[in-house]
Symmetry: C2
Subunit: 260 residues, 2 copies
């Protein structure tokens, strides 16, 4: 059994390769966050993760004008496998979209795919903002990876190029879907969830979803959920029933072991 | 089979008894909302529901200074049973608390119970604001009832007076809980979910939860969820696995089987 490792409160995602004793320079965003938001002094302990090399302990060596230098310590966590779950979503209004991206990250989504549907009101997606929200949420929830935020695609394109071996779980407000817990039974491997805009899918889109063999139309119960609620609920249920919901948190569990 | 009845977009919760052809006066809040937020004119069709009498069609008869008069039409939905699910939650920061209350309402919670725990940072709960958010969310998600918002209680009090026949599902970050999908299998009837504050439960609180026979400590997977995410995820999973997740939306699908 490996010795327990206490959680480090500040976890920062970076793109650079990580290895023991390396010196890493991070740019303006992390430098500002560590220095002015968290007010950490040189010498403070943080952790870095990058989605490839796992997580490393690090110490702030010093701040420059728009840069912070970190000296890496030991590897704290080896790279691990994370769920192969995508969220395809019609962009919704900003506050709700931001919260949805945060929660989707916490719930283990690997890829965030904006989809323009007929009733989508939003005309643009700020991928950089969503990626920043995902990176911060990944840091706080002990993930080793940050979800990728795709370029938006049109609804028809999404269906036309969909990988046939990945079931696309779609919430169906019309009452025609299979209750989600039953629909997920026996599913595992690659999965995706699709949610519509505030006004729901157009009739023609529901018809197209009905014809696609990879689509599983599911029901989320008798109440009409908002788009963001539907996405968060569906992802939570997918992870609990067909995802990694049976795994325990790692670093905290080991902390507890240490106390026993 | 009765013909399907279209949804009425504007559904308003009220405390008054509802019966066909009654005239109902609503106060300043609904009057402002209908007149200035939705800009509805006299004659506009709305629906009223009150948690006891079901849902009635209504027509705006006229506005007075801080009042609106509605003339009721036919009963659209008979009173129905809704899930007996409570959410006990440590108050968290305002924006996240408001969103949590909205989503808990959409997910069918009957009672919202604020609980002050040792690490709870918030010192007060604005019950009126939470009740207003719950009423608006209930209107939008086709519920016939609005969750009750309780007076806050202390954590020790909550456990001391807990009804023994209601399992209390508690998210356990320490990794010691049973995976939630398995823990819920076979459960039905009265249920409750308990979530902690931003900083989690204190060691002594976790010990007290461990000793309480009605507590089911569950795991929500390997990631550390924020307090609001944990509440929403747990409620969604409870409804899908042990609640009314197998029922379809009523007004959209098989509208009005209760009408005649």
């Amino acid at each position: 059994m490996t010795p327990p490792v206490a959680r480090i409160a500040t976890r920062i995602h970076c793109a650079e390769p990580l290895r023991e004793a390396a010196r890493i320079d991070l740019g303006e965003g992390p430098a500002h966050y560590l220095r002015h938001v968290l007010r950490l002094p040189p010498g403070a302990e943080i952790a870095l993760f990058n989605g490839q090399d796992g997580e490393f302990a690090g110490r702030i060596d010093g701040f420059a004008k728009s840069r912070v230098t970190i000296v890496l310590g030991a590897c704290r966590r080896a790279p691990g496998t994370e769920p192969d779950l995508w969220l395809c979503f019609a962009p919704i209004k900003r506050t709700r979209l931001d919260a949805m991206v945060e929660k989707a990250t916490e719930l283990g989504v690997a890829r965030l795919m904006p989809v323009f549907t007929r009733h989508t009101v939003m005309e643009r997606v700020n991928r950089e903002r969503l990626a920043a929200i995902a990176a911060e949420a990944a840091g706080q929830c002990e993930r080793l990876s940050v979800p990728v935020v795709d370029e938006p695609v049109a609804f028809e394109e999404l269906l036309a190029h969909w990988p046939a071996d990945r079931p696309l779980i779609t919430a169906d407000e019309s009452g025609g879907g299979t209750p989600i817990a039953g629909a997920l039974a026996g599913l595992s491997g690659p999965l995706a969830v699709l949610t519509g805009p505030e006004g729901g899918f157009a009739r023609s889109e529901l018809d197209a979803l009905g014809r696609a063999v990879f689509v599983r139309r599911v029901g989320l119960g008798p109440r009409i959920l908002r788009a963001d609620t539907a996405a968060i609920a569906a992802l939570a249920i997918v992870q609990a029933v067909a995802g990694d919901g049976a795994r325990a948190p790692r670093s905290v569990a080991q902390d507890e072991d240490a106390r026993d």
